[in-house]
């Protein structure tokens, strides 16, 4: 069973906030899913290489040339707060 402290730690890493009443349910659900995936431990995986992509491609190059792309005003148009073509955010600290 994963602890409440672990859930809080992971939530902070994931930039998610949960209500007080959600922690217990979350710990229970995550534990159940993590218990289920533990069954991979039954496999003999020694000497097996990991696979990141099933259809691997290597060294995909293209000429280093400027190509048409979105204009600055188009690129930032979806932002919730934009000023002079730049994203505005609350202060960091």
């Amino acid at each position: 069973m994963i602890s409440r402290e672990e859930v809080e730690h992971v939530a902070r890493l994931a930039r998610l906030r949960f209500e007080e009443h959600e922690f217990e349910r979350l710990a229970r659900e995550l534990s159940k899913i993590l218990d289920y995936v533990q069954q991979l431990g039954e496999l003999d995986l020694s000497g097996v290489e990991p696979t990141a992509h099933a259809v691997a491609v290597k060294n995909v190059f293209r000429p280093d040339e400027a190509r048409p792309c979105l204009a600055q005003d188009q690129a930032v148009a979806g932002g919730p707060a934009v000023e002079r073509g730049q994203f505005v955010v609350p202060r960091i600290g």
Partner: protein
Amino acid sequence: MDAFSLTALRCRELLASREVSATELVRLYLDQIAALDPQVGAYLLVTQEEALRRAAAVDAKRPAERKPWEGVPIALKDVLCTEGVETTCGSKILKGYVPPYDATAVAKLREAGLIFLGKLNMDEFAMGSSTENSGYQLTRNPWDLERVPGGSSGGSAACVAAAEAPWALGTDTGGSIRQPASLCGVVGLKPTYGAVSRYGLVAFASSLDQIGPLTRDVKDAAALLDLIAGRDPMDSTSLGLPQPIAIPRATDLVGKRFGIIGEFMGDACEAGVREVFNDAVAHIHALGGVCEEVSLPSVAKGIAAYYIIAPAEASSNLARFDGVRYGHRTAGTENLFEMYLRSRSEGFGPEVKRRIMIGTYVLSAGYYEAYYGQAQRTRTLIIEDFQRAFARFDYLISPTSPTVAFTIGERTEDPLAMYLSDLCTIPVNLAGLPAISLPAGLSRGLPVGLQLIGPHFSEQGLLEAAHALEQRLAFRALPPIVEVIR
């Protein structure tokens, strides 16, 4: 004219022979949407005016000036970016987001002259197997409105089943095209990983996601795959297909060897599904094919590997939803960290948060090798099992889903039970293989899908085999909702 009797290929023929105009065709589907979608709930957005404007432009051209598919309507899963048209991924965090560009698959359809009818509902960020995780609305199965359409492309499958578009695009990360196609009685094709560009497909699990067709028959699936496939400089993992896809014409399966995946036929597979599947096997024999059971021991671990790999990739991909560049931002926060926390917590639904949490956990310091490393090694075993099987068999077959469509709410309380819906489809994504689901019959009045899996880039052969079998199965049942129209 009856939309339930039309395929996209038939639409194209009717336009070419001038038996209908593009405007008449678009109006037919808009009428169908107006009549049925209040019950089905497939569409998040119907782009009626733009569709009619495009249709009028097609009708103004002389036939000789038109491209082959020009004027044929289509609908799109809302995970695909559409320039100037809201794209939400079924998530509140992207409410109001209007992409400044088209996904490559969408751009190809636009270039071919297809007309977009609108955007289709889905599980939020394609995470789910019932479309109940949409942040906006329920989609109901046209075969039984108390049941789910499957997911995550539930809007696409329900839309095609209710003939609210002749065909649609969906996406498949662990079964999200094939499982809803199966539950709604339509054809669904997941192409080989890399056959179709993922540019402009909002990423869930990048090493698994593929765009593909949901259609009323196998010929349409072939035609739509041909329209969207191709290598794309904007997606360096894309490869395209070795040849253009031709409309399949095969009528027999002489000399073809089919392996029945034993691991998918266990207790999880309900009796009615097994019955329809066994009938399909008899039809394969009747067409000259040979079926034999084959064991792929590692595929039984597919779900466990998937629920590490997919959430891990998702937790990384969804880090971009931070309230800065697009989507929802909580107003009045004191600092940046607080803004991230509150915007993400308000914007994401419960299943998306759960998967971000699992993904973050398995990737966090100290756990990486125990979870992600093991899952990636399991993935290698699964790929090797498939390779061994394809040395003996041309194609592998199984039911697409171990059950028929389940009732709304039945699995929402237990995330793990929902994950088990994708038993037969997930290993195919882990191995990057192409697979098609086609309707094989009914159990308790609900559709049962048959899955055919092929080796990498075997789409043409897979479609030929599926076409031969489709002709033989002659599945012509229509969902009861057809009565609303007739």
